[in-house]
């Protein structure tokens, strides 16, 4: 059983409320940081912990904090990115819905480290009911002296506000989020300047994912060095994985990044295997943008090593034979799923969510969607597959923000690993609308599903 740092108390009854959360040891990190540490010492602990941003990019959080400009007399802001919208990802929602106080606690400590007296939670508009949960938690924290003026008599002032978005995946990109927080369309900005220098209202700003900020709590409680001992290599600490698709136990799991992908899928502690005796066909392990892998490459790397659930192992082999940890949105596809259709829904998603600023993304996502739909409907041509490849290549790297890459990668990986399935759609148009290609050579190489 893996170590739990964030979800350890998730099942304590009424943990959503301050009194219970506090009784279970909550807000200790605020007391420790504000009363006995200097702001820079808090940042130092986060650096030592090796905490990597949990939103998808995996950038070291402590380093991001240390880039924050501190010009005299200019307010700075912490903005928490709760715009969780990457298909397959629903972990931040779980934290905010069931453990709102761990986010508030982490935000107070992070605000102290960064010198932010007014911090914001930018939450996606669809998580409407969670706004009430967070605002209640903020009120409770304030009435118990953990927010407002002169917190715990330390002289540090901090307010937290919830800002609700209105439906736009792109606002998860930090500069689009900042634009949106300023009351504008969510068009990403050209960097530099980075938000650490010029962010919201032209002020130095740190944007961090919900889970990243929550992880600050155990880091301060146990110390950065202790935190770094959990996990392996540069994958320190624990990671939340939201598992979905064709598995017996969809849900949010906390892993310590030392377990194998096979164990994660088949163990009863996690996904509990695939329903109805079906076999594993493919998996998108880190949210819809990361490359899809066929079962054989998912469970073992190209070198034949067991693939593990951590940043390094999942990306082993680069995009040729590997994938990415991404946001931890783990989507499992069984033998009955069609890769062309699945890729089509993702291409449609990215076309819908493209902000339209950069022509490669605005036009390219639309063309990819159309071509994939044509292939899926059995009306495609062989040359469409090459055209798709060509379009994705022309989007990747040619846009202001990573949405272009995020749209290109799933298409590229689907063609890279499942080209014969695309060709089958062209060669068997009548069949393609009636049934799916099946397993071919992608099947899970295990004779019997592993039991761990």
């Amino acid at each position: 059983m893996g170590r739990k740092l964030l979800l350890e108390k998730a099942h304590v009854e009424n943990i959503r409320y301050f009194d219970v959360y506090r009784r279970e040891g909550g807000y200790r990190s605020v007391e420790k940081a504000l009363k006995s540490m200097a702001p820079d010492a808090v940042t130092e602990e986060v650096k030592k912990a090796g905490l990597r941003g949990r939103g998808g990019a995996g950038f070291p959080a402590g380093m991001k904090w240390s880039f924050l400009a501190k010009p005299e007399g200019v307010p700075r802001h912490l903005v928490v990115n709760a715009d969780e919208s990457e298909p397959g990802t629903f972990k931040d929602r779980y934290l905010m819905e069931f453990l709102p106080h761990i986010l508030i606690e982490g935000m107070i400590v992070a605000s102290f480290a960064l010198g932010s007296n007014n911090s914001y939670i930018y939450i996606r508009g669809e998580y409407w009911w969670i706004v009430d949960i967070l605002e209640q938690a903020i009120e409770e924290a304030r009435s118990n002296g953990f927010l407002g003026k002169n917190i715990l008599g330390t002289g540090f002032d901090c307010e937290i506000y919830v800002h609700r978005g209105a439906g736009a995946y792109i606002c998860g990109e930090e500069t689009a989020l900042i634009e949106s927080l300023e009351g504008k369309r969510g068009n990403p900005r050209i960097k530099p300047p980075f938000p650490a220098i010029k962010g919201v209202w032209d002020r130095p700003t740190v944007v961090n994912n919900v889970e990243t900020i929550c992880a600050v709590v155990p880091i301060i409680n146990e110390g950065g060095d202790e935190y770094a001992k959990i996990g392996v290599g540069k994958s320190t600490g624990t990671k939340l994985i939201s598992a979905c698709g064709n598995i017996n136990k969809p849900g949010v799991y906390e892993i310590d990044m030392t377990i194998s992908v096979e164990e994660f899928i088949y163990s009863d502690e996690y996904c509990g295997g695939i329903p109805n005796g079906k076999r594993l066909k493919a998996c998108i392990p880190g949210g819809s943008s990361v490359p899809i892998l066929p079962a054989n490459l998912l469970l073992k790397t190209a070198k034949g090593e067991t693939r593990m659930m951590n940043y390094e192992s999942l990306s082993d082999g680069g995009f040729a034979t590997g994938t990415m940890m991404g946001s931890g949105g783990f989507i499992v596809l069984d033998e009955d799923q069609c890769v062309v259709k699945n890729t089509y829904t993702l291409a449609r998603f990215y076309r819908h969510e493209s902000c339209g600023q950069c022509s490669p993304c605005r036009e390219g996502t639309g063309w990819m969607e159309k071509l994939l739909l044509r292939l899926e409907k059995g009306q495609g041509k062989m040359s469409d597959i090459d055209l798709l490849w060509d379009i994705q290549r022309k989007i990747e790297g040619n846009t202001i923000c990573p949405l272009g890459d995020a749209a290109a990668w799933p298409v590229a990986a689907a063609i890279r690993h499942f080209r014969d399935e695309f060709e089958w759609h062209v060669l068997n148009p009548d069949e393609a609308v009636k049934r799916n290609y099946g397993l071919a050579h992608y099947a899970d190489p295990l004779e019997i599903a592993a039991t761990v």
Binding site: S85, G165, A166, Y169, G245, Q337, N342, T345, C355
Partner: protein, 166 residues
């Protein structure tokens, strides 16, 4: 006459106060949410103009935001809106069947509203509930683990609630 009640105006003031002075434009999205709720579930041009006037913005600043975000309705919608997620992970768990079941049951296609103005059906993109698929958003809340039977119950509940609240 489009005008927030005094209570709602106080709410607007509270929202504006979250942001630095002179940055009241930041309140635009939250205030548009409020306006949509208050004025019939959608944002007609006079409503957007009213929001512009209370936040001291030019109307175009409001239109460009209202047209960008998917949660702002620019046409009238039904009293209950069923927004069914259709992206990959939900599709894998049968979202297409749920969309067609609702459509059949209500006699409408995605994007349409029933003649009595009661229900609007929309097929939308990922709502962050992939593990509880198939699912849909209905107003403030999510309805998850949908089955045809569950859909029937929800429609029935809506009709009952509309009848008692009229």
């Amino acid at each position: 006459m489009i005008q927030f009640s005094d209570n709602k105006l106080k709410e607007v003031e509270k929202i504006v106060a979250r942001y630095p002075e002179g940055r009241q434009k930041s309140a635009l999205i939250p205030v548009l949410h409020l306006a949509q709720q208050e004025f019939g579930g959608w944002l007609d041009v006079p409503v957007m103009d009213y929001v512009a006037s209370i936040l001291k913005l030019s109307p175009i600043e409001v239109y460009e935001v209202a047209t960008f975000y998917s949660m702002f309705n620019l046409k009238p919608v039904g009293r209950y809106m069923f927004e069914v997620c259709q992206t990959g992970p939900c599709m894998v768990r049968g979202a297409d069947d749920i969309v067609s079941y609702i459509g059949q049951k209500l006699g409408i296609k995605p994007g349409q509203t029933t003649e009595d103005g009661m229900f609007t059906l929309k097929a939308v993109e990922c709502l962050g509930a992939c593990g509880y698929a198939p699912m849909m958003q209905m107003g403030k809340h999510y309805k998850e683990h949908l089955t045809p039977q569950r859909v029937d119950e929800i429609i029935e509940e809506c009709r009952k609630s509309a009848a008692t609240n009229n």
